[in-house]
Symmetry: C2
Subunit: 224 residues, 2 copies
DNA sequence: GTGCCGGTGTGACTTAGGTCATAGACCGCG
DNA sequence: CGCGGTCTATGACCTAAGTCACACCGGCAC
């Protein structure tokens, strides 16, 4: 089962180890909208996404949702409770039909002890996750909604510089997008309309064309 | 130098190792307001606070500040860039005269390789940090300012249940508090006034008396 | 086709958040 | 004790964010 080699922390392991680990995994299959785990539940291992994609999010008492991050094949979920022993920080729901592996906690901790390189790779993964959260905090604290959308579009278009005319398909409804940006559907619709009116983008349904990458970048930085 | 034994990841090490590490540390001394490191700078090691306290924060282009966390003696700063090799996520400034040690990156990574227990403890520390960030995100996304203040007061009063009449001294100006709550000074003042008017707290300057812990807890949960 | 239904676009309105300005309280210091 | 600076309190105002209501546009099923 070569799926585990796609996981960044395990890539360095010899094949024999990978196979042994794979044999220890349990499989979970979810339909779209299914719950992989829920905020507060105890954590029994590391989830690894095999197919599909998953959104990690919290819901407020008032019913608003905030997405913390979302992950696709090869990515892992729920590392934090694995190491600090607490419950899950948020809930994970499938965005499409999804298959995930659960690598038991004891096996993973044991692996970290026996293979320091794995522990270091996990430290790197947690560090990146932390960066993601920090970026989310500063978006929420500093940027008005239209600029958050601009950042999201930039990120979705890939990292390097963006060619004018680049087309991106977010594959998300405006409601889902709103939960990522920390706002509500209507404001996303208005922010899109505003970007379009300014000639920064054009769009048809969920396909967005970047017309003016420079202005988009300026907005994403929070300038004018 | 027994300071290093106060650091949770190192507590498990034999004294000889601790001493060797201590010998490798550099010392930095800061006056109040001094800068320990700045967002984006490359990271050369792990900072350990010996005395004083430090606030880790970002500043927006519009000049607003958001505090990510703050740390006192025995705590460490800047773990993320240590492991993912990027620059610092935010800037760290001293809130009072502060002395910090810098344990060089190479020594720490080496230690993680040789002592898996250290790596696991660091994973735990990063996991906790992640929880802190997640809590900050949900505060910013879900709670109005007065409720964020209520949460902060609860946290400052310690974790267990709070006795009516408990006095807490935040030791922060309203401006500093505002930067933690992700808002501005005036709103903090108004939120205080509101809590006081509702009989939840009483106060005199920076000393706050919790009069009605139950209502405070309800507010902190975002209820009425 | 007809009719539903999830997703989208917009206008009108309310409210929380933020800005600006000003006055008063407190603190340390000469 | 009085003075200057920092911190706090509060009113008047402005703007972004959020709510509500409703119209419309595509797909898809029957």
């Amino acid at each position: 089962m070569p799926l585990l080699t796609r996981v960044s922390y395990l890539a360095s392991l010899p094949m024999a180890d990978i196979r042994r680990l794979a044999a220890r995994c349990k499989v979970r299959t979810l339909r779209s909208g299914g719950l992989l785990f829920e905020e507060g539940q105890p954590c029994h291992g590391l989830f690894i996404i095999a197919e599909g994609s998953v959104e990690v999010r919290q819901t407020s008492l008032r019913g608003r949702e905030q997405v913390f991050h979302s992950e696709g094949p090869g990515a892992t979920l729920g590392e934090a409770p694995l190491f600090d022993g607490g419950g899950y920080i948020a809930s994970a729901v499938a965005l499409e039909p999804t298959r995930a592996l659960l690598l038991p906690r004891a096996d993973l901790l044991d692996l970290c002890r026996r293979r320091p390189q794995v522990a270091l790779s996990m430290l790197e993964a947690l560090a990146r996750r932390l960066r993601g959260f920090a970026a989310l905090v500063s978006d929420l604290a500093f940027l008005p909604v239209p600029e958050r959308l601009a950042r999201h579009l930039e990120a979705a278009a890939g990292h390097g510089p963006i060619a004018p005319g680049t087309v991106i398909d977010l594959g998300l409804t405006q409601t889902q997008l709103a939960a990522r940006l920390g706002t509500v559907r209507e404001l996303v619709a208005r922010a899109f309309a505003q970007l379009e009116a300014g000639g920064v983008i054009a769009r048809k349904r969920r396909r967005v064309v970047i017309c003016d990458p420079a202005r988009l970048a300026a907005l994403a930085r929070g300038e004018p």
